[in-house]
């Protein structure tokens, strides 16, 4: 689907990687290597189209992967490694932007939207209840219910209200 871009535009066509990480990069310590892979997925290849350095076979991505491993071997924490890259290539290399004033809408937009929606529902629901109180809607009596069920059953029972009459 990223390749859809290729299809639609046919304008940027690097040779596709067969996976990026080469055997000679892999660290001997599997725990450290796992951390390196996870960090690599968080870092953007700066010359690629929306690829992490873990996915890209661009030379600079390889340089950055090697550097990630170098820092890890030297004892950096994951955050220190990422900060090291950010100091050189800017916020742009983070695939997950840090939370700061400029990115507040990005991170808190969705939860804020939830709040707005919940509020809207409560308002609409209240309005509905008021309306139903005015219009004097009352629940069906047992007799009406039975008659309705019989009618629905006769019609084949497609969408009948199952909640009350039906045995579980």
């Amino acid at each position: 689907m990223r390749r859809l871009a290729v299809l639609l535009l046919l304008l940027w066509l690097p040779a596709w990687p067969a996976g990026a990480v080469e055997p000679d990069e892999v660290l001997a310590d599997p725990a450290l290597e796992d951390r390196a892979r996870e960090i690599s997925k968080e870092l953007r290849c700066v010359v690629c189209q929306n690829q992490s350095i873990d996915d890209s076979n661009a030379e600079i991505a390889r340089d950055m992967r090697l550097l990630v491993r170098e820092r890890l071997v030297e004892g950096d924490t994951d955050d220190q490694v990422v900060d090291f890259m950010v100091a050189r290539y800017g916020e742009y290399v983070r695939f997950s932007p840090t939370i700061r004033f400029e990115t507040l809408p990005l991170w808190f937009g969705p939860p804020a939207l939830v709040l707005v929606v919940v509020l809207a529902i409560v308002m609409v629901y209240r309005a509905q209840q008021n309306r139903s109180a005015h219009e004097g809607v009352r629940p069906l009596s047992a007799a009406e219910r039975a008659r309705l069920d019989a009618l629905v059953e006769k019609l084949g029972g497609g969408e009948k209200p199952r909640s009350q009459g039906d045995p579980p």
Binding site: A15, G19, E91
Partner: protein, 667 residues
């Protein structure tokens, strides 16, 4: 000559679409029958004319007429015929042409089959389709003419890109476009209804089949594209949260919400303004996708970036179509009367919940996709951020979990007023299945991420809950089997379609979970004779041979896949080099067991007799595509429902002699 003919047909189509946009609309306002009736011939001739233009371009590709610039840039005489044909839509100009053909097809379909619609509504729908046609035909004619001639014509074309010579890539755009463009019907119906000032249950019934058809094709298109990436990319990735992918995913999310809210309009005559808004937004997001992909604002497209004309043109279309329809919405929608009342715990309540979460999911993808652009514009280019998979995974998954949990319960609820304890009782089996699968998945992969067993449990919950609803409907095991069989035959196909589609979601979730969480990867240098253990399998690297294919050289590894002492199969991953195009492709060798893929890729030689190899065990991956297939099948099954056929309800009502047998399956 043929190309000029195509050019002429295209220009004529533009003129006809102008007529189609204007005359029926005037007719609708004056309630003038003959004026409104021009819609049908106009829509039909637009279909014929755009079809002819498309045929003319196809002829250019088949005949390798390199005096046509589009053909010269995107085809080559040595291409296999199949890819010459798929080359027609494998480029900007041709794909836009396909866009308008599909648009004309939908416009014609509503003119042909919408005979039961109120004449003014039908005229307005046809007219709005015509307006969209005007916009895009003008875009093609003025900025992206596919029939431009080259003089002198080159001896051969430039389009030998090996990556594009692949069936998966060749056929997913048509599916995707039917999806994108199909949503134009929902849009046209929404705008027409706003102009009419009337939205009722019948409107909901009319708009649903079109939306469903578009959704079904879009689902197939997205899945096919994802599958292609999976087998062609060479490391088993199947979704990247790329802006181009998101551009197709947003209309899918909004369209899914629309499908569900239109049900509420049809059955309960409420949620009208919201549904109209969704119909407008769904198509707007399709247009936005077109803009994102072709304008170069998000994806770096070098040639377009230097020529902003196309981008500005599409933006102008967006401004008129989206801005205009939303303004109309703002003016007209407040007057829409909402009908039926309902409790929070009810079928409608469930559908509203579905809508909120889908809209939220869509909003999150939207924000993540476009926020970098906002920030760049606001900071005047000084602040650039990247929003990638880590963001989307962190925000999207938490929205999906409650959605899927409620998805199992929703169909079990009664309309208006549900009975929660009753529903929970009926979901006991689903709950048990969920816990069992969770424990099982955890025991199988105790070291994996904790979310994975939870997600597998939720998938099981959805699958069993969905089947419970279906079984209850036909009283499976609670009535004699013959009785169940009779009920099954009487069950509306739309109901079974829903069951299938929901089941497909469960299967796809299981697939995505397994694929993301439990992949086993081995990257190393292997020499002939090496055996590489991957998960519970062993890949025996036997030898590497070189040779030549039709228009490429290949390096092919022979790998024997073993499980213990048992030989499962032989795998032949290849690297192909295309000398004319100067490009390489990797052809992964994939063996699927139905619940996992074993995936082998061969890379470069290390110079000392070894080769870089990448072996993967991708658990559950095939389920992603099975799930998408089941979803699409559900869509088609539902479409085949008599009630969804445009015109069916009205015709049945007009026939007083209708037997009860005809009425019963339709409820």
């Amino acid at each position: 000559m043929i190309a000029e003919f195509g050019q002429f047909a295209l220009t004529l189509a533009l003129v006809v679409s102008l007529v189609q946009a204007v005359v029926p609309m005037i007719g609708a306002y004056r309630n003038d029958g003959p004026l409104m009736a021009t819609g049908y011939p106009a829509a039909l001739s637009q279909l014929l004319l755009t079809g002819l233009a498309f045929g003319a371009l196809t002829y250019g590709f088949i005949a390798s007429d390199f005096s046509v610039a589009t053909v010269a840039a995107n085809s080559h005489s040595l291409k296999p015929m199949l890819y010459k044909v798929s080359g027609v839509w494998g480029n900007h100009e041709g794909s836009m042409l396909m866009w308008v053909v599909i648009l004309a097809l939908f416009g014609w379909a509503v003119a042909q089959f919408g005979t039961n619609l109120p004449p003014t509504l039908r005229a307005r729908v046809i007219s709005v389709q015509g307006m969209i046609g005007v916009a895009f035909l003008a875009f093609i004619v003025f900025t992206s003419n596919p029939f431009m001639r080259l003089d002198p014509a080159p001896f051969d074309g430039n389009g030998l890109n090996p990556l594009l010579q692949d069936p998966g890539l060749a056929f997913h755009p048509p599916l995707l476009y039917v999806g994108y463009v199909g949503f134009s019907m929902a849009f046209s119906f929404a705008v027409a209804a706003l102009l009419e000032g009337r939205v009722d249950a019948a409107w909901g019934r009319w708009v649903r089949p079109w939306t469903l058809a578009a959704w079904t094709f879009l689902t197939g298109g997205i899945a096919l594209g994802s599958w292609w990436a999976y087998y062609e990319l060479g490391w088993g990735g199947w979704w990247f949260w790329d802006p181009v992918e998101n551009a197709s995913f947003m209309p899918w999310l909004a369209g899914t919400a629309l499908l569900h809210s239109a049900i509420v309009v049809e059955k309960r005559d409420t949620l009208k303004a919201w549904t109209i808004l969704l119909a407008i937004l769904t198509f707007s997001l399709s247009l936005l996708g077109t803009f994102i992909v072709r304008s170069g604002v998000l994806t770096s497209v070098h040639a377009f970036a230097t020529d902003p004309t196309r981008g500005v043109f599409i933006l102008a279309i967006l401004a008129v179509a989206v801005g205009g329809s939303l303004a109309l919405f703002a003016l007209r929608a407040p007057a829409l009367q909402s009908g039926g009342l309902f409790r929070l715990i009810s079928r409608e309540g469930g559908l509203v919940f579905n809508n909120i979460l889908l809209a939220l999911a869509c909003g999150t993808v939207f924000l993540g996709t476009l926020y970098p652009l906002f920030l760049e514009a606001l900071s005047d280019g000084r602040d650039k951020v990247s929003v990638g998979p880590p963001y989307f995974n962190a925000t999207f998954v938490p929205i999906m979990i409650p959605l899927v949990i409620v998805m199992a319960a929703g169909p079990l609820m009664a309309w208006k007023r549900g009975n929660l304890p009753n529903v929970m009782r009926r979901l006991v089996w689903a709950g048990l299945a969920a816990v069992a699968v969770m424990v099982w998945a955890f025991l199988l992969h105790p070291d994996g991420p904790w979310l994975a067993p939870v997600a597998m449990g939720i998938a099981a919950w959805l699958a069993v809950g969905t089947l419970t609803e279906w079984a209850d409907r036909i009283k499976l095991f609670r009535a004699p089997l013959s009785d169940s069989w009779r009920r099954l035959k009487g069950l509306p196909r739309a109901a079974s379609g829903m069951t299938l589609a929901h089941l497909g979601v469960a299967v796809a979730i299981a697939g995505m979970t397994g694929a993301s969480a439990w992949q086993v990867e081995r990257i190393q240098v292997a020499r002939p004779g090496d055996v590489v253990p991957v998960g519970s399998y062993q890949f025996a690297f036997d030898e590497v041979t070189e040779g030549a294919g039709p228009n490429y050289n290949y390096r092919r590894a022979h790998v024997t896949l073993l499980r213990g002492d048992r030989v499962i199969t032989e795998l032949y991953p290849e690297t192909r080099f295309f000398p004319v195009a100067g490009q390489s492709t990797t052809e992964a060798a994939i063996h699927t067991t139905g619940v996992a893929d074993l995936y082998a890729v061969v890379g470069e030689a290390d110079g000392n007799g070894g080769w870089t190899v990448r072996f993967y065990e991708n658990p559950m991956v095939p389920w992603i595509w099975y799930g998408a297939l089941i979803m699409s099948a559900g869509g088609f099954l539902s479409l085949s429902d008599r009630r969804h056929r445009v015109g069916a309800p009205q015709r049945a009502a007009r026939k007083p002699v209708a037997t009860s047998a005809e009425i019963v399956p339709a409820e």
